[in-house]
Structures are given as structure tokens and as C-alpha cells.
């Protein structure tokens, strides 16, 4: 099972991304685990400079929240690989 991680420090955009990811997982019936990572040391181990960041199987897909449609497209690509 693949793991999607949302890295965030608790800001509004981070929570929005987490919500959108959860919604997309239900909508597309993806068999994945979603984790919300708030620990600063854990976030920094991915070498990101801005939050939120979206991680699938330990690889950073994107930072920021470019909109649900782009998140969905990126997740589709990453989950099928």
C-alpha cells in the first residue's frame, strides 16, 4: 500500500491540502494511507523549504497548494507508477 504524506506546520493552506487529499482519496477510491506530518525535523528530512508539501512514497511531488485539480493529476501519476 502506498503512503501519501502531507507535510505541514499547521497553517491554513496545509490543512486545506490535507482535506483536499483526503477528499480525493475517497472520491477515487485509492487504497492508500494518508499521513499528516507536523514534526519540523521530519519535514526537513525531505529538504523542502516551503509547506505544505505533498509526498508519495517518500518522494516530494510538489510544494504549496496549486489547486485540487493539479493535486489530483499529480497524485494519479504518482500512484499509478
Amino acid at each position: 500500500m502506498k503512503t501519501i504524506k502531507v507535510l505541514g506546520t499547521g497553517c491554513a493552506t496545509c490543512k486545506r491540502l490535507l482535506n483536499d487529499v483526503n477528499t480525493l482519496v475517497v472520491k477515487n477510491n485509492w487504497q492508500v494511507r494518508v499521513e499528516y506530518v507536523t514534526d519540523v525535523a521530519a519535514i526537513m528530512s525531505y529538504n523542502v523549504l516551503s509547506t505544505p508539501a505533498l509526498v508519495v512514497d517518500e518522494k516530494v511531488l510538489m510544494t504549496g497548494h496549486p489547486g485540487a485539480a493539479k493535486v489530483e493529476a499529480a497524485l494519479f501519476k504518482a500512484l499509478e507508477a
Binding site: A12, T13, M44, Y46, V48, S50, P66, G67
Partner: protein, 353 residues
């Protein structure tokens, strides 16, 4: 930037990009058309539709209000779009690469400039801070970057431009940059590394590959449009309330009523404005229309700018976020340095203008 440009040259415009450009050009034409009918529209509402006499207090206040609200909202929409479009060419990762290996001084100047144009949200302050200092960027240079972003606030810049003209907006930009440079240099010279939380130095930053994919023009427009909606959506109500208060002052408060308390003669007004402004957490959108009206009534520009900068630059929520990586002593020194720099800037403006 270089790689970015060559990449753009290699990939010709897609048809989607051409459509997006066309859309943006049409939007720009509509924008200019609207911008040019604001004054007649405001006069028509106040003096035509409501049939208020031309020299009445109420007529003057309302004409002012109906002129300034659409003007500022239009300006905010148009200019924030351009600013965020420009920002889509920069990234925190790129900025870190540029700042790496720069000496203090040059590094501070570059960091302050990049702080203004790098897309940055205060919720990213912690990873950004750690990522910068872990990669060897000096503490002072990091602070120049972190100070410039909030001091030079894009909404404040646009509103100063709309209500005071480009000279004052330019002065604000320059003094904001100077404050960020000076604060960073001072913090760098004081060798305050021991006041950074210890865990920061122990974090091992991962080696994950940097995200390097360049967005297309269509995507840049989408990013800019989304940020514009977000920013304008957040401030429009403050703009209206601020302008309403400003319009009331404009129509009812007599000329030079405030010269005594907020004018140049009162030496204590600049520090008083900063002391008042630091704990006052608001956004520039609501404050600038009010200070613009206050200035008409005799308040001095330096005092007013100092007040505004202390309101936007030092906000409690941001200090709470930074507290996770900085010890209280460093936060206090940071607030003190920035506040002092703002006070000096205020005096300078009062002296020069």
C-alpha cells in the same frame, strides 16, 4: 533564471498558452476601460443619483468613497496579479542557491531583494529558516530575507501607489529594503547563533532532489490568478471599511487639525506611532486609507509610514511561528532592531520631506 530562459526558448508556445495570453490581454483592456470610468461614475453617484450639493460634507465624503473603493480594488486586482506572476519565476529553492556562499553585506542586500520577490507565506517561515541556516547561509543574511518579506507588503505597496502616488510607494519599498538589510547586518554582527533553538543545529536536512519542473505560461497565469483571488478576497472588506473611515475624516475633520499631535513638530510622535503599531495586528489594507486621510489633515509622512510599517512588519502570529526555532532573547532583539530601524526611517522622512 538562465536555465529557465533557455528552456522557455526551446519549448514553443502551446495553443493553450496562446489562448491564456489572449485572455489576459482582453482582461487588461477591460481593466483599463473600467479604471478610466471610475471618476465620472463616483461623481454621478454622489452628485447625480443622490443629488447631493457639490460642496457639502456628505457629498464630498461620498464622492471620495465611491471613487477610492473601485479604484483601490481594481489596482489591487491588477497589480497583485502582475506581482504574483513575477513571483512565479522565483522559488525558495532557487533563492537559497543564489544566497549560498554570499558574504555578509552583499548577501544581506541580495537577501532583502529576494525576500520581496520570492513567493513566501509566513507558514513556511520555519522550514525556510532551518533550510537556510543548515545550508550555511549566515544568520544575519537569513534575517534580512525573513524581514524583507513582511516589511515590504505587496498590498501596502499597491495601496500606497493608489492613494499617494509612485514616489511614496517607491520610498516605502526602498526604506523597507533598507530596514531589512540593516536589521540583518546588526543581527549578523551580534553573533546570536546561541539564541537559535538547539535542535535546529542538529536537524539533518535530507538530500531529496529539488523540484525543477518549470510551469508553463498557462500555469503561471493560473497561479497568479489564484493568489490574486486569495489576497484580494482576504483584504477587500478592510479596504472598504478603511476607505469609509478615511472618507469620513476627509469630509468632516478640519484641515491641519492633527498637525499638533501627528505633525513634524511633535518629536515624540514617531516612536509613539511605532509603539502603538507593533502590538496592533492588522493589515495594511485597512490602515492605509485612514493614514492617507490623516495626512491630508496635517499628519507627517514619516510618522504615518512608521506607524504603517510597524503594523505590517512585526506581527504577533509570525513571532509565534518563529518562536519554534528562535529563543525569546533573539525574538526580542529582532523586534527591537526592526522597531528602531523603523523609528529612524520615520525621522528621516520627516526630516527630508
Amino acid at each position: 533564471m538562465q536555465t529557465n530562459l533557455t528552456k522557455q526558448e526551446k519549448t514553443p508556445f502551446s495553443s493553450a498558452d496562446v489562448r491564456s495570453w489572449a485572455l489576459v490581454v482582453i482582461a487588461a483592456v477591460i481593466w483599463f476601460a473600467l479604471y478610466n470610468v471610475i471618476q465620472p461614475f463616483a461623481d454621478w453617484i454622489a452628485y447625480g443619483l443622490l443629488a447631493l450639493p457639490k460642496d457639502s460634507h456628505l457629498g464630498e465624503s461620498l464622492a471620495f468613497f465611491f471613487y477610492d473603493v473601485p479604484k483601490i480594488i481594481l489596482l489591487l486586482g491588477g497589480m497583485i496579479f502582475l506581482i504574483t506572476l513575477l513571483r512565479s519565476f522565483f522559488s525558495a529553492e532557487q533563492t537559497r542557491a543564489w544566497l549560498g556562499g554570499k558574504r555578509e553585506g552583499v548577501g544581506n542586500v541580495l537577501a532583502a531583494a529576494l525576500g520581496v520577490i520570492t513567493p513566501f507565506c509566513s507558514c513556511s517561515a520555519v522550514p525556510l529558516f532551518i533550510g537556510f541556516v543548515e545550508s550555511g547561509i549566515p544568520l544575519g543574511v537569513t534575517f534580512s530575507f525573513l524581514t524583507a518579506a513582511p516589511v515590504v507588503n505587496e498590498v501596502a505597496l499597491v495601496m500606497l501607489f493608489g492613494l499617494f502616488g509612485w514616489k511614496i510607494a517607491g520610498l516605502y519599498l526602498l526604506s523597507g529594503l533598507t530596514i531589512a538589510i540593516v536589521a540583518g547586518v546588526v543581527i549578523g554582527r551580534l553573533n546570536l547563533e546561541r539564541y537559535v533553538e538547539d535542535f535546529v543545529w542538529q536537524i539533518k536536512v535530507g538530500k531529496g532532489e529539488a523540484l525543477s519542473e518549470q510551469p508553463t505560461w498557462t500555469e503561471r497565469f493560473q497561479i497568479a490568478w489564484q493568489s490574486t483571488k486569495e489576497i484580494v478576497g482576504k483584504v477587500w472588506l478592510y479596504v472598504i471599511v478603511g476607505i469609509a473611515i478615511g472618507a469620513g475624516i476627509h469630509g468632516y475633520v478640519p484641515e491641519s487639525a492633527l498637525a499638533g499631535i501627528l505633525g513634524k513638530q511633535a518629536w515624540w510622535s514617531v516612536p509613539a506611532a511605532v509603539v502603538l503599531g507593533v502590538p496592533l495586528y492588522s493589515n495594511a489594507a485597512g490602515i492605509i486609507p485612514v493614514v492617507s486621510a490623516l495626512m491630508e489633515k496635517g499628519a507627517a509622512l514619516g510618522t504615518v509610514l512608521a506607524f504603517m510599517m510597524s503594523v505590517v512588519a512585526l506581527s504577533l502570529p509570525e513571532m509565534v511561528i518563529l518562536r519554534r526555532v528562535l529563543k525569546p532573547q533573539l525574538i526580542a532583539i529582532f523586534i527591537g532592531t526592526v522597531a528602531l530601524a523603523i523609528i529612524l526611517t520615520g525621522y528621516l522622512f520627516n526630516l527630508v520631506i
